[in-house]
């Protein structure tokens, strides 16, 4: 989930507060397809990815694009607005009650005497695959180069013939599609969805992205892992009430010690 965040931020320097809510929409989308139409899990998930990618592009076109030249603060406020909007629309359609989500990774595996749901290894494997694919995309394809160029200097990128609008749309599509994938895994592990689930999730994904070094893909992955492990350890050894405090505590600590994140590149530049 942090991947999508980091990606969007990396290209347009926008902290997309609506990211968590896109995750939520993805979850509802998968749930609705499965429970109402009895669509097989895989297709429901794919549909949800497609739906969220389109939603991401739509949000970008309607809410962010007209404001792009007015600076980052207006975009930030708009992003919060979009986040509230999505939450309320979903509440309106599906009501505020939590819904049960059936884990479709059946069975469990036993490692070292402990039982895990198959969802856990599946999450890890698929995350690594996505991370690799993303890294390759950004590093070696011409679209990826264009994304990096736009992120560094959109004006010069235009002079090179890069269509900045479509590059940003593409980034939003990928970022939001990733949100949908994230939502599917989240739901399989936590089996409950509700319209406000996005805020906390989005915030945590954001923390993960910052922790790893915002804009860096492996960084986002690493940050996510740190937070996940940190949460579990706290829950196991200290108290489950402390988890959020620890997550944000870690964020504050990292920002104090290395503001650019674990794998972030320094902002000091030779001019």
């Amino acid at each position: 989930m942090a991947l999508g965040y980091s990606m969007v931020y990396g290209v347009i320097k926008l902290i997309n507060f609506a990211h968590g809510d896109i995750i939520m929409v993805g979850a509802y989308c998968t749930w609705y397809m499965m429970s109402r139409f009895g669509v097989p899990a895989l297709f429901a998930a794919l549909f949800s990815v497609f739906f969220c990618a389109s939603l991401g592009v739509l949000i970008e076109k309607i809410a962010y694009k007209p404001l792009r030249k007015y600076g980052r603060l207006s975009l930030l406020v708009t992003a919060i607005g979009v986040s509230l909007f999505l939450q309320n629309v979903v509440q309106l359609i599906f009501k505020a009650d939590p819904r049960m989500f059936t884990n479709f990774f059946k069975g469990a595996i036993t490692i070292g005497g402990r039982q895990f749901s198959t969802a856990t290894p599946a999450t890890i494997i698929i995350s690594v695959i996505i991370m690799t694919a993303l890294t390759l995309l950004v590093k070696y394809t011409s679209m990826g180069r264009a994304m990096r160029a736009v992120s560094e200097d959109d004006e010069t990128a235009q002079l090179m013939g890069v269509n900045v609008s479509s590059t940003i749309s593409f980034t939003f599509a990928v970022g939001s599609g990733l949100a949908a994938i994230g939502s599917v895994f989240y739901c399989c592990s936590y089996s409950q969805i509700q319209p406000t689930m996005g805020s906390m999730l989005g915030l945590k994904a954001f923390v993960a992205a910052v922790l790893g070094g915002i804009g860096s893909i492996p960084g986002a992955m690493l940050g996510g892992l740190c937070i996940g492990v940190g949460e579990s350890v706290t829950r196991g050894f200290v108290s489950s009430k402390m988890t959020d405090a620890v997550v944000f505590g870690v964020l504050i600590a990292v920002l104090l010690i290395k503001p650019s994140g674990i794998l972030g590149r320094g902002s000091g530049e030779k001019v």
């Binding site: 180069r145 264009a146 990096r148 560094e152 004006e155 010069t156 235009q158 002079l159 013939g161 890069v162």
Partner: protein, 233 residues
């Protein structure tokens, strides 16, 4: 090849370019000279589509490009080496070159890269280095090389000598002359008027957003008034 007719450009309420007209013919090197703030860069940015003129018309190779999107011009053979070089600092030298050839095919880029390396051996030596670590002169060569990657018909250069040591300035202007002799048409914006005039065929002098003089570059070098105003006596 390029003709600009009566353009007026504003930054908010500031009237930066006033009724400017000029043309660049096939095979020429034309320079726009003038002091800081005379509107030179603004004119280039308007031709490139990064800024819009309120009035007038800009045509390139017979096409009206007054309201064309900036990203489409690269494909038409117009390239712009922006002020301050603006290379992609976090990318490698080679990736920068590939960005220059963004609109072209892989094979074309391979060939174009070879040509650029041949022209700029320094750039070849550093091809896998992160561009931000290059020296100023190397960065300028990279910026020029990047522009050449798109096989341009017209190269617009904004202050290529800015911030460079005299030796490097000489070298850059040598390259500009070579490019022109090899058939490129060049529109050059410079504060270093003496150097600019030494490579240009024709020249337009700008003062606070207006063209105040247009002539052959050689005549201008001899002109006493110009000498006083722009060449330091």
């Amino acid at each position: 090849m390029l003709s600009v007719e009566n353009i007026n450009v504003y930054y908010g309420s500031i009237h930066a370019v006033k009724d400017v007209s000029f043309e660049v013919r096939q095979g020429e090197t034309v320079t726009l000279i003038g002091a800081n703030g005379a509107g030179k860069s603004t004119i280039l940015r308007t031709v490139s589509g990064l800024l819009r003129s309120k009035t007038g018309r800009i045509t390139f190779l017979g096409n009206d490009i007054s309201s064309a999107d900036a990203y489409k011009l690269a494909g038409m053979g117009l390239t712009h080496v922006p002020e301050g070089r603006r290379i992609f600092r976090h990318m490698t030298v080679r990736e920068n070159l590939d960005m220059g050839g963004y609109i072209r095919s892989k094979e074309d880029n391979k060939r174009a890269r070879r040509d650029v390396y041949e022209r700029f051996p320094r750039v070849r030596e550093r091809k896998d280095q992160i561009a931000g670590t290059l020296s100023g002169g190397e960065q300028q060569m990279l910026a020029l090389g990047r522009a050449l990657m798109s096989a341009p018909r017209l190269i617009m250069m904004d202050e290529p000598s800015m911030g460079l040591a005299p030796v490097l300035v000489q070298q850059i202007f040598g390259i500009i002359r070579e490019l022109n002799e090899a058939g490129a048409t060049i529109l050059l914006v410079e504060q270093n008027a003496r150097m600019a005039l030494s490579v240009a065929h024709r020249c337009y002098v700008l003062e606070t957003g207006r063209v105040v003089m247009a002539s052959d570059a050689g005549d201008l070098l001899e002109d006493d008034g110009v000498k006083k105003a722009y060449l330091g006596g």
